[in-house]
Structure formats: structure tokens, C-alpha cells
């Protein structure tokens, strides 16, 4: 060891065990992070609250149980498509065809269930399979052939419009009359079922959180204080409980019929939210999605099959588009050449981006799509209540969207200034 580092040999030092956090230190850290600009979902939530306050001030009807229920069914299709898009955006890719892919899948559904008379589950399965196939083809063209996803999905965007037209014979409106399919976006669960599912969900969450806490403590790793975990569980319980309570109130305006309960789409969205979040956060696959999005070359060097990941996200995206298409068809009780068209795609991408997903890949969560989708649904819902000319509505919608997004932007600017990126 002739001329190697001179004289002093320094003993290896342990990574310093961080001090055991307390509730207080936890909150202080959180506040320091927020002040440093690392705000997580906070801006989207604040934007949402601001919007609700404004619309309520302008139209008191905004804050009614009925309108609250409307919000869910109105936003459902966009949120579902946005959830799938998050995967694609996480890789820094784009899927412009997601809107019309949902149209194609809805058209397949309509073909089978209405025109050919198949039972609903065959049609639903066929629609989802269609979505999977679309995703496989797009993914193959992007990952294996190497055409930029913007171009592939622009081509698909055009082609799918044609496919919808061909499937539903040049633009007829095909009605969906199957009771099960119509129920998805138009019926509610009995109140007791809503409560039961809520209870189940909260209990499950509590179990997972507490187990995780125990596990980490047992291994001697740094953990949040138990109190923080409990507070989080409590918050979820209160939030979910309030929502279910409100949705279980009577909202019929007609004394003869009763209208209450949680809309059936809500548990569908919640379940998909949980499942997809699990996939992204707790499985190796999800980890690899983030890795490929963050640094594709590094992921490749780490031995990840990058092509497979890239194909898979398009499959997920198109499958979610299929589900979104089914919900849209259910809500409109019909499929036409516009299903999945017009603003659906831009709203879906917008939802993901407003929620905090980056178009450059590597950053984003499923819940972003839900929060961003909520922002967009609230804007559309509120603007609908104002009832002004289309020109006015367009302008104000644009401005409100901007406003909601600027809350987030200002927080991020702070982060950039202090060097936290």
C-alpha cells in the first residue's frame, strides 16, 4: 500500500441513527417541508376548496347533496382515463388516443350488448379486451418499433375516430338499455351497503398501517410516531364517513321517489384507486415504472426490461380508457361518434397534470388523477350552474383552471428557489 491515502486511517462510522421522531418533530418537519415548497397534495386540495367556496358564493345550489352526488358521476369517466394516463405520463410518454380508445371500447360494448344482444358481462369483457389489445399495439409501436408516442397516438387518435364511425355505422347513436350497464353510472347503492363498504375500507387501511408500523419498529427502523399513524386513520374515517353520510341523505326533489345512497361508480373508482396505487407504490413493477420514467438509461443498466415496462403502461392506460368508456356509455345511456371525443382527452391529461403529475416522467401518483379530476369536475359542474353563453363559459372555465393551477405553481416556485427539486 505504497502511496495510498496518507497517515490517518479513519474508522468506518455508522450512518447516524436519526433521533426518534415525536408527534411534534413530525409536524415541525412537515411544516419545514411545506415552507421549503414540498407540498404534496396540499395545493390541489387548497385549489379545490377555493373553487368550492367561490361557486357556493355564486350559486348556493352548488352545496347541495344532489350536486355533491352529481360531481362523482360527472367526473367519473375523466378520472378513470386520467388514472390510466398517469402510468403513461410517469414514463414521460403521452397517449393522445386515450379519449377515442375509450370511444372504441364503448362502441364495442354497444355493438355487442345492443346490436348483437350479448349479455352485459360478455360486452364488458370484450370492451376491456379491446382496450388491452389497443394498448399492446400502441406499446409495441412505441417500444419495439421506436416511433415517438406522440406520433403513434396521434395516428391512433385519427384512426380510432374512424373505427368508432365504422363500428356504430357512421355515427348513429346506439342506446344502451341493459339494466346492469345503465346502473353503473346512474344508480346508487343502498345506504347500508355504503356504510358497510366504508367500514371495511377504513378497517383495512388501519390494519395495513398499524402492521407496517409494528414491522418497522420491530426491525428498529425510523418510523413515524404511533400517534401520527392513528391521526391519519382517524382523518380517513372522518372524511369517508362524512362523504357517505352526505350521499346517503335523501336528494330526490320528487316526493314520490327516493334517491339516496352512494353512486355505484364511487366504489369502482375507489377500488381502482387503491389497486393502482398499490401497484405503483408497493410492487416491484411500480418501482420500475418510476425508475424508467426517472432515468431510462439507469433503469436499463439496472437490468429492468424497459421495453416490457413501456408496453405495459400503454396496456394499463388503454384498459383504464376502456373502463372509462364503459362508464361514459352508461352515463349517457348511449354511444355515439363523440363518445371519448371533444375535450375528454385534454381534460384527462389536464387532471393528471393539475394533480401534480409531470409530463416529463418520473413524478406522479394515482391520487393526483383523482384530485385533478375533481378540480376539473368541479369547474365544469360550477360553470354549468352559472348557465351563461358558451363563449363566456369557455373563457371563465379557462381562467378558473388557470387559477386552480397557479396555487400549485406558486408553491413549486418556492421549492425551486430554495433548491428543493
Amino acid at each position: 500500500m505504497s502511496a495510498a491515502p496518507p497517515t490517518t486511517v479513519v474508522p468506518p462510522v455508522e450512518v447516524p441513527a436519526a433521533p426518534v421522531p415525536t408527534v411534534g418533530s413530525h409536524l415541525r418537519d412537515y411544516w419545514a417541508r411545506v415552507r421549503g415548497g414540498d407540498m404534496g397534495a396540499l395545493p390541489a386540495v387548497l385549489g379545490l376548496i377555493a373553487l368550492c367556496v367561490v361557486f357556493t358564493a355564486l350559486r348556493p345550489n352548488f352545496m347541495t347533496e344532489g350536486n355533491f352526488a352529481n360531481l362523482f358521476t360527472q367526473g367519473a369517466a375523466v378520472v378513470l382515463i386520467a388514472m390510466g394516463l398517469v402510468f403513461v405520463l410517469l414514463l414521460g410518454e403521452i397517449d393522445l388516443s386515450a379519449g377515442f380508445a375509450s370511444g372504441v371500447c364503448a362502441a364495442v360494448l354497444a355493438q355487442l350488448v345492443t346490436l348483437q344482444g350479448y349479455p352485459w358481462w360478455v360486452a364488458v369483457a370484450a370492451a376491456i379486451v379491446t382496450g388491452v389489445v389497443i394498448g399492446l399495439v400502441i406499446g409495441f409501436l412505441v417500444a419495439k418499433v421506436g416511433i415517438p408516442s406522440f406520433v403513434v397516438t396521434l395516428a391512433a387518435f385519427l384512426a380510432f375516430q374512424g373505427v368508432v364511425l365504422l363500428l356504430i355505422k357512421g355515427g348513429t347513436n346506439v342506446s344502451i338499455r341493459d339494466e346492469v350497464l345503465v346502473a353503473i353510472a346512474n344508480r346508487n347503492m343502498p345506504p347500508w351497503l355504503g356504510w358497510a363498504l366504508t367500514l371495511l375500507g377504513v378497517a383495512g387501511y388501519a390494519l395495513v398501517q398499524l402492521l407496517r408500523h409494528r414491522n418497522r419498529s420491530a426491525l428498529g427502523l425510523v418510523t413515524e410516531p404511533l400517534a401520527v399513524v392513528l391521526i391519519r386513520i382517524g382523518a380517513l374515517a372522518v372524511l369517508a364517513g362524512t362523504a357517505v353520510y352526505l350521499l346517503n341523505l335523501e336528494r330526490s326533489r320528487n316526493v314520490l321517489v327516493s334517491l339516496k345512497g352512494v353512486p355505484i361508480v364511487v366504489p369502482i373508482i375507489v377500488i381502482l384507486l387503491v389497486v393502482l396505487t398499490f401497484v405503483l407504490q408497493r410492487t416491484a413493477y411500480g418501482r420500475h415504472v418510476y425508475a424508467v420514467g426517472g432515468n431510462r438509461e439507469a433503469a436499463r443498466r439496472a437490468g429492468i426490461n424497459v421495453d416490457r415496462i413501456r408496453i405495459s403502461v400503454f396496456v394499463i392506460c388503454s384498459s383504464m380508457a376502456a373502463i372509462g368508456g364503459i362508464v361514459a356509455a352508461s352515463r349517457g345511456t348511449s354511444v355515439d361518434a363523440n363518445t371519448g371525443g371533444s375535450k375528454v382527452l385534454l381534460y384527462a391529461v389536464g387532471a393528471a397534470v393539475i394533480g401534480g403529475t409531470s409530463l416529463f416522467g418520473g413524478k406522479g401518483r394515482i391520487v393526483d388523477a383523482v384530485l385533478g379530476g375533481a378540480v376539473i369536475a368541479v369547474i365544469d359542474n360550477g360553470m354549468g350552474l352559472l348557465g351563461r353563453s358558451s363563449g363566456f363559459t369557455f373563457v371563465v372555465t379557462g381562467l378558473v383552471l388557470l387559477l386552480a393551477a397557479s396555487v400549485d405553481a406558486l408553491s413549486r416556485r418556492r421549492a425551486a428557489a430554495t433548491g428543493n427539486r
Partner: protein, 273 residues
Amino acid sequence: MSATPLLELRGIDKSFGPVQVLRDVDFSVNPGEVTALVGDNGAGKSTLVKCVSGIYSADGGQVLFEGRPVQIHNPRDAASLGIEVVYQDLALCDNLDIVQNMFLGREKRRGLVLDEPTMEQMAAETLAGLSVRTVKSLRQHVSSLSGGQRQTVAIAKAVLWNSRLVILDEPTAALGVAQTAQVLELVRRLADNGLAVVLISHNMNDVFAVSDQIAMLYLGQMVAQLRTSDVTHAQVVELITAGRSGGLGLAGENGNGKRDTPPTETTSAGADR
């Protein structure tokens, strides 16, 4: 020294468009030894490593692993042969944290679910062995790490696995005094445990301190591969900056000819010096 080298390259060529970067390169690595790969800036060291690890495909030549010819088309192939590489351009995912980066591509799981606690523990242990003291949290994104901390993470990532050949491309470039000592010690320990180690470095002190053999690249050509004990500091520097030193190295000055002593011979014979 074992009979067959673990890794042997024969006549590797590599061009980027009109620019030829590697020219008929031979190179061999024995298990249980540290083979230093040295050369001037732009000599082609990193390119050679990337040809071995499947990042680039070589234009010509043969790669033998344990004497058998192998095809390495991508990093997965390399990993399945037991080749681990620390790249000079570190290739970490900035949007992931330290633990996530260290286990990228080989996550520990319990069933479907990632086993985070185990990974965190293993990462902490490995990092502690590399004298990392200033990392505040293992859950920090690597984008917020200092240059040396990033490098340590990359090194820790490569030595975490049961590999047979570890290639380190300038691993200590950004490291502090204590960390460098740790890494050199680690390199020696790996070789002593029977692994083959390739160390690329510009620091001749480090090279002479830990290596058993030295391979010298000069403008994309392998000028000589010699036992460390058979050369001096000054000779190595001359070989990598001028391509020849005394009877060693390329035949002609700034040579386009073949080297006069084929490396397969020099490795065992040590040639004259």
C-alpha cells in the same frame, strides 16, 4: 493465478459513426485479482466497459466468459453472467431514494409486495461500511445528494449482489479521503474473496496500491497488460501518454502497428522492463 481468465476480450472493435474508438482490443481478467484498466482521457476505457456490460454492442471481436464465448446484448445479459458495473456516469434515478436506487431491478419482496424494511436495513449496513456519515436519511432522493454521496450509493449498489466480476469505472473520483480508503479496501476484499475486479482509475497511487495487473489503453488500442509488480509508476504513465516506453507498448510511435508483445503473453511473462 488461475488457468483460464474469468473474462477475456479478443479483438474488440467499436466505432461511433465515422469515429473508431476501440481498435482490436484484447483484455483479460482473472478471478481473485484486481485488474486495473488505465489510460488517458478519451482512451476508450468507459467504452470498453460498456461493450462488456451490454450498453453498447461491439462492432467486432469476441467476449469469452470462463473460456466460453458469450453474447452480451444488454445489461440484463451481463447481470445474469454475474457482472456488476459502477459506471462513470453514475446512472442513478434521481426521482428515487437511496434504498430504491440500491435495489433497483432486484427488489426484495414478500410475495407480491416489496419488502421495504429489509431493503432499508441492508442498505444501511452496506453504506455504513463505506464511511458515509453525512447522509441524513436513506429515504432521501438521490437528486439531493452530494457528488461523493451519489458515488457511494452507486458503489454500494454494485457490491450488494453475489456477483463474479465487479467493474468499477473511476469509483473514487468524487470521494473524500476516508471514503476512498474504504473503497480501495473493499476492492481488495472483493478480490481476496475470489471475485474478479476491474478498476479504472487515473490515480496511479491507488492503482499501484490495490491492483495485481495493469492494462493500458492508448487511443483505443491496448498497449500492454502487465503484472503490477513488473512495471514502475513512470513506465505506466509513459505508456498511457505516449503509447510506448522502452521496449513496451506499440511498435511505432503514435503507433498504428500492432503491439509487439501480445498481452496474453505479457500477462504471464511480464516481459522486459
